[in-house]
């Protein structure tokens, strides 16, 4: 099952045509390549499905650099929530969805390489994009009572963090599916982070997923952004180092190099995974991919056992699921899907005696259809043998 919907974790065999028109279950249009050795979907799928929803809108708005843009944006939003937490306003939950989203934006677009390029590309613009995003996020946060200053400042820091974590992790680059760790792993991570932050982060791997491939490109950016990050991270240094040591198994180098600049927002960004509960309801936040509910409770997430996330998402596919939004907007999705799928048939039998032909498909195919059967089957032959039979008349 090499392909997986990031929305509902449905898997598709290699070469599946179903996914060409979106996930038949949830309508999601983000898929990730999922190697056979990363089959454990249980824990991660929930996070993936929830977070990918956000990335749809963000990615599209950001255009070609969607991954980087959305990540920066989400980062800022993330930090917003984190900043709230730092300032004691108590709303820290928002960061995890945003983080999850950004991570997914990179991953889902196309495995590691996409996120790698996105990251390197974003090194220059991430600051500005983060800023713009942060202003947006700030306005949101103000409405929800959190300080705007905190958000923007931590935005820089997190952007920094964004690129650093993966590149510094020094581990063998993990595939995009790494976020789908075993429930146990996830839980462990979750717990360890919760100790220091009060907010669980299971995206440690997720971060490295998105960016681990871009080691060289990404490692440059931290320096550029360190100054930006500095201001924001001072207050959270402690958390960072604590967190870093927790995840030392795979983040030792990060601790060494990034310990000073990482704040808890960054940590959350790296390690947390979004739970469907935290994502904006489809109605409120889906269209723009903007969150207006930065007030989700960390406890909410903590309460949710990782292993239940996937199931939850399936039960409630709409929770925070931006990608399912089009269900409302485009009721013809099924038609479209059918149409798309049909385009991959060379001959479609509508009825006995009624056919639709896809000329390009007929032209492209190697084998040659010589006989159609009433039941829709057909006989093909290699051209050579056919020529021998039919010969010149």
């Amino acid at each position: 099952m090499p392909h997986q919907c990031t929305e509902c974790a449905r898997t598709f065999p290699d070469g599946s045509k179903e996914m060409l028109s979106g996930c038949p279950d949830c309508g999601g249009n983000k898929f990730q390549f999922k190697p056979a050795d990363a089959v454990d979907v249980g824990a991660g799928s929930g996070a993936g499905s929830g977070s990918a929803g956000g990335s749809v809108a963000e990615g599209s708005s950001a255009g070609g650099d969607g991954g980087a843009m959305s990540r920066a944006k989400a980062t800022v939003r993330d930090l917003m929530g984190r900043g709230d937490g730092d300032d004691g306003t108590g709303s820290t939950a928002s960061e995890s969805p945003a983080r999850g989203r950004s991570a997914n934006a990179g991953e889902t677009s196309s495995a590691e390489s996409a996120s790698a390029s996105a990251e390197s590309a974003s090194s220059a613009e991430s600051a500005s994009s983060a800023e713009s995003a942060s202003s947006a996020a700030a306005s949101e946060s103000q409405s929800s009572g959190s300080p705007a200053g905190g958000s923007s400042r931590s935005g820089g820091a997190d952007t920094d963090r964004d690129r650093v974590t993966p590149s510094e992790s020094g581990e063998w680059p993990k595939s995009a599916t790494e976020e789908y760790d075993t429930p146990a792993e996830k839980a462990r991570r979750r717990e360890s982070h919760e100790e220091s932050v009060g907010t669980t982060e299971s995206t440690t791997s997720e971060r490295s997923v998105g960016a681990s491939e871009s080691a060289s490109g990404a490692s440059e950016s931290p320096a550029d952004l360190e100054s930006t990050a500095g201001a924001a991270t001072e207050s959270t240094e402690q958390d960072v180092s604590a967190e870093a040591s927790e995840s030392a198994s795979d983040d030792e180098s990060i601790t060494a190099q990034m310990g000073e600049t990482e704040d808890d927002a960054q940590r959350s960004a790296r390690s947390d995974v979004v739970s469907p509960d935290e994502l904006p309801s489809r109605e409120s936040a889906a269209p723009g991919g903007m969150r207006d509910d930065a007030t989700g409770e960390p406890s909410e997430r903590a309460d949710r056992p990782p292993s239940s996330e996937a199931a939850d998402v399936k039960d409630r596919p709409s929770a925070g699921d931006v990608a399912s939004e089009p269900d409302d907007d485009s009721p013809n999705l099924d038609e479209l899907r059918e149409e798309l799928n049909s385009q991959f048939e060379s001959i479609k039998v509508l009825d006995p005696g009624k056919y639709e032909l896809n000329l390009m498909e007929l032209y492209d195919r190697e084998e040659y259809i010589i006989s159609l059967q009433e039941d829709g089957r057909y006989v093909i032959e290699v051209p050579e043998s056919w020529r021998g039979d039919a010969g010149p008349d």
């Binding site: 006995p352 005696g353 056919y355 032909l357 032209y363 010589i370 009433e374």
Partner: protein
């Protein structure tokens, strides 16, 4: 006899290849159904070999298997051009047996014709992919040339860099418009003709010799 004629054919080929500079070109006659492909193929074959290629009909999809006529020697200006002509089934994106019911055909026959026509399109497309060195694209000049089929086929032909001549057929009809076809495919040579009446066949052969010789 079949063996003998086969032998004769291959001998003929050898002599042809000895006397012709280039390898013999296989020219596919393509186009939508009822454009007059078989009529044209028969006209060419009769003019230069005395034989016909296949039955003609006003009912669409009369030609449901590709038919080939080899070693058609066309003499122009003292030069001889030898080509293989492949008359292909009309290409379309939809085949519906109900269309044939209008021609007083039984439903069973219509359904079978429909199925065979579909197979024929597949065969035509396959020939286009594998077996033709040049294309004569026949259009009914009384019909609108801007169709998906025409655009797609011409596109495929262009993508393969095959030499192509566009024949605006049926100019004997009142509402024929060669210019409309010229406008549709200005990048290609368009030759007006009536394969049925034999109008303008001299230019047709000139162009064939020029393009495929």
């Amino acid at each position: 006899m079949g063996l003998l004629s086969g032998l004769k054919d291959s001998l003929q080929r050898v002599t042809d290849s000895l006397f012709s500079e280039d390898e013999q070109k296989r020219i596919g006659i393509y186009g939508p159904p009822n454009a007059g492909k078989t009529t044209l193929a028969n006209r060419i074959a009769r003019d230069w070999t005395g034989d016909a290629i296949g039955p003609e009909s006003h009912i669409p999809h009369e030609t449901r298997r590709a038919r080939r006529k080899e070693n058609v020697e066309i003499e122009r200006n003292g030069k001889s051009v030898s080509i293989d002509i492949v008359d292909t089934p009309g290409v379309t994106t939809k085949v519906n047996y109900e269309e044939f019911l209008d021609y007083e055909m039984e439903k069973d026959d219509a359904v079978r014709r429909s199925r065979e026509a579909t197979e024929g399109v597949a065969e035509a497309m396959h020939w286009l992919r594998e077996d033709v060195d040049g294309v004569i694209y026949v259009l009914d000049s009384t019909e609108d040339p801007f169709t998906q089929v025409n655009t797609m086929l011409i596109g495929i032909i262009e993508s393969r860099d095959l030499p192509v001549l566009i024949f605006a057929n049926k100019i004997d009809l009142d509402d024929a418009s060669t210019q409309r076809i010229r406008n549709a495919f200005p990048q290609h040579e368009t030759v007006p003709l009536s394969a049925l009446e034999g109008n303008n066949m001299d230019e047709v052969y000139d162009k064939i010799a020029e393009y495929f010789g």
